[in-house]
Amino acid sequence: MNLNYLTRRLGQAVITFWATVTLTFALYHMMPGGPVESMQNIILQQVTTSGGSVDLEQIEQMVALYANIQPNDPVYVQYIDYWRQLLFEFSMGQSFSHQEPVTTLIAERVPWSMFVSVYSLVIGYTASILLGSAMAFKEKSRFDSIMSSIMVALQSTPYYIVALLLIYSVALRLGWFPTGGRVGTGVEAGFNLEFMTSVVHHAALPILSTSILGIAGAISLRGNAIRVLGEDYLRVAELRGLRPTRIATEYVGRNAILPMYTRFMIGIAGVLSSSVILEQIFSYPGMGLLMYNAINIRDYPLLMGTLIIFTSITIIGILIADLTYGYIDPRASGGGGTE
């Protein structure tokens, strides 16, 4: 790993972050209806949700007053301002619909979404590695062809359908798992067994549904492994009398799994992406649900915040993958070109 590579990777990350914030900002200004309409919508929503009736004219008047309070600077000033706040105050503004700053809201949700995402990735990829190698070693066997068919089925099932089937079967019919929420009622947060079991219990179905996203990797791992198995150096190793297990782990495993490493990190983008649908199905209050609600009621500051954080997490994931790849696979001494 050379310095040049490092700076290029960091530069890439910085550019991506800049582009995301800028894109988000631009989209925000393209949204139909400005903050005033959005605020009116939110207030209507809140008022009707909680009470029922509204004097529209009064709301318009009020919203106009709220709008007076909003800064009315030219777009480029707002843009610079947004950056200034983001970089120097770590602030992404105040949510329209919650009584709190966007960063606080997100900070409260991020750990939960990351918890589900990371575990589903780990489970999904572990399963796919195990299955994939098993299939490769038993290439063309009955097991291989059955598993291949199952893989096709899994690849063709959207995670939200998996989620619905799981809710129907193990949650509603069998009652083994809760249908939603992220921790049992009345369980005190903290490092106690009850809390932790409850958290796992609630996260189990979301994690399981999401892990299906990673399982498709088994097919490509199988491909990788079969290719490696066909390489000459394996034959050489065999001739040298190395034990099959050693060959399996040292040669095949390493060479077949390594290409999946970067993919694992990029996989975070996909998993986080799925959270907007899954968290809604499981009413799991994480980032995805926060964003879903924000988009529904056009809470723009919150919307921008969640999109930026979603992307930042992926940027960090990819950066980690890039920077650590060299240690894991010494042959990759800095990657070639911009590929």
């Binding site: 009116q40 809140q46 004097d55 529209l56 009020m62």
Partner: protein, 613 residues
């Protein structure tokens, strides 16, 4: 809303508070879905947690469990700042000044007396009632709330002044005469406030000499937020239950033992979960002691829940007909649409989606349960009766009366244009299914439709008025009163600017229009009767007597029945289940519990006790 009206702007926001968990919350709860959740999806947060073990008894107290409102940390308690105001929760954590009852009356559980005389209304506060922090509730508190509200809506309010008569008496003077019921109704949802929190703003208002100065006070006032923590720790609430612990998912509140309303109850505590995706699961696993229910529900068999109350709720739902559409501008085409609309099927569809609804039998613009009070049988008997089930023959007759012809199965206007409508509806099941039934009936009849179902930013889209027919609720305030149904906005019947006499409103309704002088006649014979519906609905709240209310209501109802500015297709009932194994409603409570959300109202006013039998 309207000038010279006791329905001040502020009032209309707060009045909703009486509605119990309210329009939208009510419908989701009733709905059989976990995904539908308007409140679950909406601003109201996402139902943290909430599932599994019953809240009962884990800390030794027997708590009454229910789901209402938003999480406490997400709301604030300045009633003059509508942004994030915790309306539902405030309504239950405080004693209310007055409630609307299903029989049309307005009564108070707190005030000793509300008397009216001419333009004046006098309220007497009972002695010895206190805030949680021990401060006594006095006339000054009511005065502060009333006056801030008056200043906040200085130009539009119908309150001339407020006056502290003595420590326990406040007088409100209206700018113009108003009927006694509507004077009392002005208290519904009104809040009084602890002067410690607000006197500063009142002083600023009093010092403000010009509209600009008042506006700048208002600007400050609407940025002032009172967090739940400050509010509860400061003891600024007045209700029977005081919160002790809360988080994003729920709040626990304990009975305030020496509260005057605590006499007849022995329920030591309540646990309130925020509205969220888990509400239904909690009801099914017997965690809740009060839940939304539908008469057809079978799941209650496995729980302690039982349907405890069903009231003819004030809410109805309608389709606005946009007269700017050249076809809908034609009265006979509107009537054809009315005839073809399958009210029964739409009601059935709404019931599948969780509403407890019934088809509207007679198009008066009012909910049927107040027909007797404001229209009378003699009057309603005369009105035009449109088919309730889809009736293509009647519809075809209306179309032919409008000189439309059927060509190859489609209806064509005299100008040779094929009739087609775009229908705006919400994507929630409760609206999307009835809309589909409606649209399919039109298609079968030979009218093309394009349905646009949109999500939560519905109201913004609606107000672009770019639809031919658009769905929306039908009731503008949480009160069983004609003013709720004929208010001049999209929750009532939007006509247009009442000040204008020429031209049309947003939906193409002429501001001055002619209807037959004889009620029930399908056509205008002779000169007819010229009315200005916008102005009538504007005048309605300022009526001086009940007779005048009836008179105006009849004119508006006749206009609605004759011209069909909208079609109210269903009216709702509110069905609530309670854990009757462990709790019971204290019998013969006065005033009676014929209010919206009777169980919650009963609970928070000390009318629910543990079941002794």
């Amino acid at each position: 809303m309207k000038d010279n009206s006791p329905w001040t702007r502020r009032k209309f926001v707060e009045i909703g508070a009486v509605a119990g968990t309210g329009l939208l919350a009510g419908c989701t709860g009733g709905s059989d879905s976990s995904g539908d959740g308007e409140d679950g999806n909406g601003s109201s947060g996402d139902g943290e947690d909430g599932n599994g073990s019953s809240g009962d008894g884990e800390d030794g107290t027997n708590r009454f469990n229910a789901v209402i409102g938003r999480p406490l940390p997400e709301v604030q308690f300045n009633p003059f700042n509508i942004q994030n105001y915790g309306q539902t929760i405030s309504m239950y954590l405080n004693v209310s000044l007055a409630d609307g009852h299903a029989d049309g009356t307005v009564q108070s559980r707190f005030l000793e007396d509300i008397s009216t005389d001419g333009r004046e209304m006098t309220m007497s506060i009972p002695e010895g009632w206190t805030y949680w922090n021990g401060d006594e509730i006095t006339a000054e508190d009511l005065y502060t709330g009333f006056e801030i509200q008056r200043y906040q809506n200085y130009d539009s309010t119908n309150y001339e002044s407020h006056e502290i008569v003595d420590d326990y008496t406040v007088k409100r003077t209206f700018k113009s005469r108003v009927t006694p019921t509507l004077m009392q109704a002005s208290l519904v949802g009104d809040s009084f406030v602890h002067p410690e929190l607000f006197s500063e703003y009142l002083e600023q208002y009093e010092d403000a000499g010009s509209a600009d100065e008042r506006d700048s006070v208002t600007e400050e006032l609407i940025q002032y937020t009172i967090s739940a923590e400050d509010y509860i720790d400061g003891g600024y609430g007045t209700g029977v239950y005081r919160p002790t612990e809360w988080n994003n998912a729920r709040l626990d509140a304990e009975l305030v033992e020496d509260h005057p309303m605590a006499e007849s109850t022995d329920v030591p505590g309540v646990r309130i979960y925020a509205v969220g995706g888990e509400s239904e699961a909690m009801a099914r696993n017997n965690t809740l002691d009060r839940a939304y229910a539908h008469p057809n529900d079978t799941w209650m068999e496995g729980t302690d829940l039982e349907i405890e109350s069903t009231i003819n709720w004030f809410r109805a739902q309608k389709f606005i007909l946009n007269w700017n559409n050249e076809h809908l501008a034609n009265l006979n085409v509107r009537r054809a649409v009315m005839a073809i609309m399958p009210l029964d099927a739409m009601s059935a569809a709404a019931n599948e989606a969780g509403y407890n609804a019934e088809p509207t039998q007679l198009q008066t613009g009012l909910r049927e349960s107040i027909h007797e009070e404001y229209l009378g049988e003699d009057f309603t008997d005369q009105l035009i009766e449109y088919p309730v089930a889809s009736d293509s023959e009647a519809a075809a007759e209306y179309m032919r009366a409008a000189d439309y012809t059927q060509e190859g199965g489609s209806w064509v206007s005299p100008e040779g244009e094929q009739v087609s409508f775009n229908i705006l509806s919400r994507s929630n099941t409760g609206q999307a299914l009835p809309t589909t039934a409606f649209s399919d009936a039109l298609n079968r009849f030979g009218i093309e439709t394009e349905v646009n179902a949109i999500g939560e930013d519905y109201y913004t889209t609606l107000q672009n008025w770019e639809f031919d027919m658009g769905w929306v609720w039908h009731v503008a305030s949480a009160l069983w009163h004609p003013t709720s149904y004929f208010s001049n906005d999209f929750y009532g019947v939007r006509v247009g600017d009442p000040e204008e006499t020429e031209g049309t409103g947003e939906t193409g309704i002429p501001l001055t229009t002619t209807i037959p002088s004889e009620v029930g006649s399908e056509e205008i014979s002779g000169s007819g009767q010229e009315i200005r519906p916008a102005q009538l609905s504007n005048d309605l709240p300022a009526s001086e007597s009940t007779e005048e209310v009836r008179e105006t209501t009849r004119t508006l109802a006749w206009w609605f029945n004759y011209s069909l500015p909208a079609i109210a297709y269903i009216q709702e009932n509110q069905t609530r289940a309670m854990d009757t194994t462990n709790y019971e409603v204290v019998p013969d409570t006065q005033p009676p519990l014929d209010v919206s959300e009777p169980i919650m109202k009963g609970l928070f006013n000390g009318h629910i006790r543990e079941n002794s039998s």
